[in-house]
C-alpha cells in the first residue's frame, strides 16, 4: 500500500493531498496557517502477497504512520478518530497508536476489497481532522500523560 504523499511536505500535506484530489477540495487556506513542521512523508508497510494465489488475501497487518507536528496533535487526531475506529467492522480490524508525534494505524483484513474501502474511508476522515487542526488553531497546552495510547 502506497501512502498518499509526494514528499513535498509533511504527512499533513501528503494525506491531505490524496484526500483533497479525491474530494475536489480547494477551499481557501485560513489566514495565518502555520507551515508544515513535519517534513517526512507518511511511512507505509504492506504484507507480501502469497505467490500463485488467484485471490489476493492480506491476513497480515498493513501499517501507516502519519507524523504530526506535536505529540498533542497526534493524540488529538487519535481521539477524534478512535470512536470511528471502534465500530465493529467484521472483516477489517484497525488499531490506532500514538508514538511520540506520530499516529500509527494498523489494518488487518482478510478481504482486499474491504481493506481498500476501509483505508480510503479512514484517510478521508484523517484528512478532515488534519485540515481542522490546521485551520482552527493550535491545541491548548496540556499534559498527555505517559506511555503509548492505543485504540482498537
Amino acid at each position: 500500500m502506497q501512502a498518499p504523499g509526494d514528499g513535498e511536505g509533511g504527512a499533513a500535506g501528503g494525506a491531505e493531498g490524496g484526500a483533497g484530489s479525491r474530494e475536489g477540495e480547494g477551499g481557501p487556506r485560513p489566514e495565518g496557517a502555520e507551515g508544515e513542521a513535519v517534513r517526512a512523508p507518511p511511512q507505509a508497510e504492506v504484507a507480501p502477497q502469497p505467490a500463485g494465489s488467484g485471490r489476493c488475501l492480506n491476513r497480515a497487518p498493513s501499517k501507516l504512520t502519519v507524523p504530526f507536528r506535536t505529540p498533542l496533535e497526534a493524540e488529538m487526531a487519535r481521539r477524534s478518530l478512535a470512536p470511528y475506529v471502534q465500530r465493529p467492522r467484521g472483516l477489517v480490524q484497525k488499531e490506532l497508536t500514538v508514538n511520540g508525534s506520530a499516529l500509527a494505524i494498523r489494518w488487518t483484513a482478510e478481504d482486499p476489497v474491504f481493506f481498500r474501502i476501509s483505508v480510503n474511508a479512514f484517510l478521508d476522515q484523517l484528512s478532515l481532522v488534519m485540515r481542522n487542526i490546521r485551520g482552527f488553531g493550535s491545541p491548548p497546552m496540556r499534559s498527555l500523560g505517559r506511555g503509548k495510547r492505543t485504540d482498537t
Binding site: 488529538m76 487526531a77 481521539r79 470512536p83 476522515q125 482552527f136 488553531g137 491545541p139 491548548p140
Partner: protein, 335 residues
C-alpha cells in the same frame, strides 16, 4: 450565558449554528443537491459535508461575532441518520472540542427539532408532529421523555415524497418536497390513493408503490397530469398525518400542536393541521424553512438545554448511531 456551537449533518444538509440564551447568533447551512431522478448516497453526501463543513464553521463563528474561546460547549448530531455523513460531522466536533478545550455533547437529531420548535414558537407543551425525509413521528412530552405516540411503520413521509419526485424527474433543487408542493398547487383532480392509518401509526410504502405504478399508467393515457398526482399524494398523506396527530392530542388532552421537520415547511400541511386545531379549539405552531429544515442551530439549542442540565459526552463515548430513538434520551432539562 453559555454559548453553544451545534453541528448537524445527518442527511443531505450540513449546518453549523451558534445559540446563546435563546438567541440564534448564526445558522449557516449547505445542501447537497443531486440531479433530478436521483437520491443522495451516504458516501457522496459525506464527501460533500467534509468539503464544506470547515468553511461553515468559520462562517458561523464570524456571523455570531464570537471567538472559539467564547464558545462554552460543542454539540453535534449523534444520530439518527446516515452513517458516513454523521461520522464526518462528529469527527469535526471532537476535533474542535479538543482544540478549544470545550465539553462535547452528542444530541439526538429529533430532539434538536423539537427544542428548536419550542424555542422559536414559544409552544409550552405541544403534541409534536415531526415529519421529514428520514422520520415521521407524533411525539408528546411526559415524565422526562419525549414519548412517541405514533409513527410510520415503514418509510418516512418525506421519503415517500422524495422518491415520488424521482419518478417524475422533479428537480431536487431546493428540495423535491418543495417542488412537489408547488406542482400540487396547480393540481385539479384528486386521484384516489390507498389511505393507510393503523391505529396511532401510518404506512407510506404501499402508497408509494401504488402511485409509482399509477403514475406510469395514468400519465401515459393522459388520465391525469403530474400536478394532479402531486396534489393527490399530498392530500392523502397529509390527511393521514392530521388524523394521527389529532388522535394523540385527544389522548393527551393537548391544546397545542407543533410541526417540526423539513416536511413541516409545507404550507398545505400547515393549513390542514390548522383546520384540525381550530375544530378542536387548539393552537398550531410551526416554523419557517430556516428552522424546519435540518440546521445546526437546532443542535446547538438542544445542546444548550442539555449543557445547562449537566449533560456531557466523553470523547470515548462520542460515536454516532444511525438508529437513535427519540424516547431514548432522558429529558432532564424539563419538569
Amino acid at each position: 450565558m453559555p454559548a453553544v456551537l451545534g453541528l448537524e449533518g445527518s442527511a443531505n444538509k450540513v449546518g453549523v449554528g451558534v445559540v446563546r440564551d435563546g438567541a440564534v447568533l448564526a445558522n449557516p447551512r449547505r445542501t447537497y443537491v443531486t440531479p433530478p431522478g436521483t437520491g443522495f448516497l451516504p458516501g457522496d453526501t459525506a464527501r460533500h459535508h467534509r468539503a464544506v463543513i470547515l468553511d461553515l464553521l468559520q462562517e458561523a463563528l464570524t456571523e455570531a461575532g464570537l471567538t472559539s474561546q467564547e464558545i462554552d460547549c460543542v454539540a453535534y448530531t449523534k444520530g439518527p441518520g446516515m452513517g458516513a455523513p454523521l461520522v464526518s460531522v462528529a469527527v469535526v466536533a471532537r476535533t474542535v472540542a479538543q482544540l478549544w478545550n470545550k465539553p462535547l455533547l452528542g444530541v439526538n437529531h429529533c430532539i434538536g427539532h423539537i427544542e428548536m420548535g419550542r424555542l422559536i414558537t414559544g409552544a409550552t407543551s405541544p403534541t409534536v408532529l415531526y415529519v421529514s425525509g428520514g422520520n415521521t413521528q407524533v411525539i408528546a412530552y411526559s415524565e422526562r421523555r419525549y414519548r412517541i405516540f405514533g409513527e410510520t411503520i415503514d418509510i418516512a413521509v418525506g421519503n415517500c415524497l422524495d422518491r415520488f419526485a424521482r419518478v417524475l424527474k422533479i428537480s431536487n433543487d431546493p428540495s423535491p418536497g418543495y417542488n412537489i408542493e408547488q406542482m400540487a398547487k396547480r393540481g385539479k383532480k384528486l386521484v384516489e390513493l390507498p389511505y393507510t392509518v393503523k391505529g396511532m401509526d401510518v404506512s407510506f410504502s404501499g402508497i408509494l408503490s401504488f402511485i409509482e405504478d399509477a403514475a406510469q399508467r395514468m400519465l401515459a393515457t393522459g388520465e391525469c397530469t403530474p400536478e394532479d398526482l402531486c396534489f393527490s399524494l399530498q392530500e392523502t398523506v397529509f390527511a393521514m398525518l392530521v388524523e394521527i396527530t389529532e388522535r394523540a392530542m385527544a389522548h393527551c388532552g393537548s391544546q397545542e400542536a407543533l410541526i417540526v421537520g423539513g416536511v413541516g415547511c409545507n404550507l398545505r400541511l400547515q393549513e390542514m393541521m390548522e383546520t384540525m386545531c381550530q375544530e378542536r379549539g387548539a393552537r398550531l405552531f410551526a416554523t419557517d424553512e430556516r428552522f424546519c429544515i435540518d440546521n445546526g442551530a437546532m443542535i446547538a439549542q438542544a445542546g444548550w438545554e442539555m449543557f445547562r442540565a449537566g449533560h456531557r459526552t466523553p470523547l470515548s463515548d462520542s460515536g454516532i448511531t444511525q438508529r437513535y430513538r427519540t424516547d431514548e434520551v432522558e429529558v432532564t432539562w424539563r419538569d
